[in-house]
């Protein structure tokens, strides 16, 4: 191992690395058992410092937490084919509310790739995405949802990119259609999320965008009216939590 990287273990254990350093160290961790063991021990040592700062939270916080979890399903457990090292502290990168489409082409690519590289290493292994299965035959994802009596759609446009989300409360399903969107670069993919009221993101499948900038997908999982639908750029295969800012956020209701 590089001695230089090895010396980052302490700073990593106390979250004292900047984003770029964290990324490269996590890549190193994936292949260095000695550093993994050391980080585990040093994190535990650091955690003991928290015994010096205990403070009683307000009772309302307990109610909020318990109310939150009642609405959220724990992630499925890791399975055998989880070949990649796990995520470390999960990071609920909660996309902001509001309906916006940011033009992807204007974003800083380098930062994205750096983030993607990190996510590739720390992605939660168990979440091997299978693209949504098109068991409704030839019907398009949007058509499957809009066929419901109570279907509604919301859309947003910016700089030539449009995203439309169809949602049916009856079906508990949502679908997304985009046009004018720059296709994901090699090794990357668009990923869809439900974002709950507390701002936590739940993976909802991947979205392929073709060379013409169009794509449709039925979101996996159950859609609820209080959710927003968000879309981020992620490393191929998807991430367990968003690793980039959302390019699309749309409220379902």
């Amino acid at each position: 191992m590089s001695p230089d990287l090895h010396h980052l273990s302490g700073a990593y254990a106390v979250d004292a690395l900047d984003d770029d350093e964290r990324t490269s160290f996590e890549q190193h961790l994936a292949v260095c058992a000695a550093c993994r063991a050391e980080v585990a021990e040093l994190s535990a040592a650091a955690g003991s410092l928290a015994s010096l700062t205990e403070a009683t939270p307000p009772p309302s916080l307990r109610a909020s937490v318990l109310s939150d979890i009642a609405q959220v399903r724990p992630l499925p457990p890791l399975t055998e084919d989880a070949g990649v090292p796990d995520d470390r502290a999960p990071n609920a990168g909660a996309p902001d509310a509001g309906g916006t489409v940011l033009p992807i082409r204007h974003r800083r690519r380098t930062a994205w790739f750096a983030a993607a590289a990190a996510a590739a290493v720390i992605a939660i292994g168990g979440l091997a995405w299978s693209p949504w299965s098109d068991d409704a035959g030839s019907q398009s994802p949007m058509a499957q949802v809009t066929a419901a009596d109570d279907a509604m759609t919301v859309s947003t446009t910016k700089d030539g990119a449009t995203a439309e989300v169809a949602y049916s409360k009856q079906l508990g399903k949502a679908a997304i259609s985009v046009t004018g969107m720059e296709p994901a670069p090699d090794g990357m993919t668009y990923q869809l999320w439900y974002v709950g009221p507390a701002g936590t993101a739940t993976p909802a499948g991947l979205l392929g965008v073709d060379a013409e900038g169009s794509g449709q997908a039925l979101l996996t999982g159950q859609a609820t009216p209080t959710d927003k639908v968000a879309m981020t750029m992620e490393p191929a295969g998807g991430s367990a939590q968003p690793t980039t800012d959302p390019v699309v956020v749309l409220a379902l209701a």
């Binding site: 010396h7 980052l8 273990s9 302490g10 700073a11 254990a13 106390v14 979250d15 004292a16 690395l17 961790l29 993994r36 063991a37 980080v39 585990a40 021990e41 040093l42 994190s43 535990a44 040592a45 650091a46 955690g47 003991s48 410092l49 928290a50 015994s51 010096l52 700062t53 205990e54 403070a55 009683t56 939270p57 916080l61 307990r62 909020s64 937490v65 318990l66 939150d68 979890i69 959220v72 399903r73 724990p74 992630l75 499925p76 457990p77 890791l78 090292p85 796990d86 995520d87 470390r88 502290a89 999960p90 990071n91 609920a92 909660a94 939660i124 168990g126 507390a198 701002g199 936590t200």
Partner: protein, 207 residues
């Protein structure tokens, strides 16, 4: 889960300290609560919250400082714990270390995302006062574990202790720590690591 996640139990026997520290249950009890939570048991999660919230909230408050934001961050951290509790692997470390890692990372990320500028203004103040970490004292007596940790901290050099405290309790990056302590860039990360190693060895912490 969190395959490479730190973990660890403080080497101290936890049960005797549970009463003193307020509520912290033994490592095995916490691990069991997490296991039941993974099965969707909200009552178990409530018990987990009751056993750990003082410690999590206290740490978050220490890093974030703003009370309202600390509540948000703590809430977010617990939701993450719930969401990921199926990934907790007791073989890889203790439940409390896992929880604290999640809470710390959440707090630090929040602070860096939204409060960077404000906190930088506080940097001067941070260097010129001792880290007063004893909100535990508000309860009349420090927990046994806190006493142990405080003793262990005295085995660190002043430089190591400052670096570890600013990084972990202050939420600063090692580069910021270097600046705060007037160290050459790159030195702080070594101090942090050396300090943590000494703390680990003194406390007998295991991963």
């Amino acid at each position: 889960m969190m395959g490479d996640m730190p973990a660890a139990s403080s080497g101290a026997p936890a049960s005797g300290e549970a009463a003193a520290s307020g509520a912290l249950a033994t490592g095995a009890e916490l691990a069991d609560l997490l296991r039941r939570s993974a099965l969707g048991d909200e009552t178990a999660f409530a018990a987990l919250y009751d056993a750990t919230s003082r410690r999590l909230f206290g740490l978050v408050l220490r890093v974030v400082r703003d009370h309202a934001m600390s509540e948000e961050v703590t809430q977010e951290a617990y939701l993450d714990v719930w969401r990921h509790c199926t990934r907790f692997d007791p073989e890889r470390g203790s439940a409390i270390s896992w929880l604290m890692t999640i809470a710390h990372r959440t707090a630090v990320d929040r602070v860096r995302a939204s409060e960077a500028s404000r906190r930088r203004d506080d940097a001067h103040a941070a260097t010129h006062r001792d880290v007063e970490f004893d909100t535990t004292a508000e309860r009349g007596q420090a927990s046994l574990e806190a006493q142990r940790v405080r003793r262990a901290l005295t085995t660190l050099t002043d430089a190591q202790r400052s670096a570890v405290e600013l990084a972990y309790l202050g939420g600063y990056t090692h580069a910021e720590v270097a600046r705060l302590l007037d160290l050459p860039l790159g030195t702080a990360k070594t101090r942090i690591r050396d300090g943590l190693i000494r703390l680990r060895d003194t406390l007998g912490v295991q991963a």
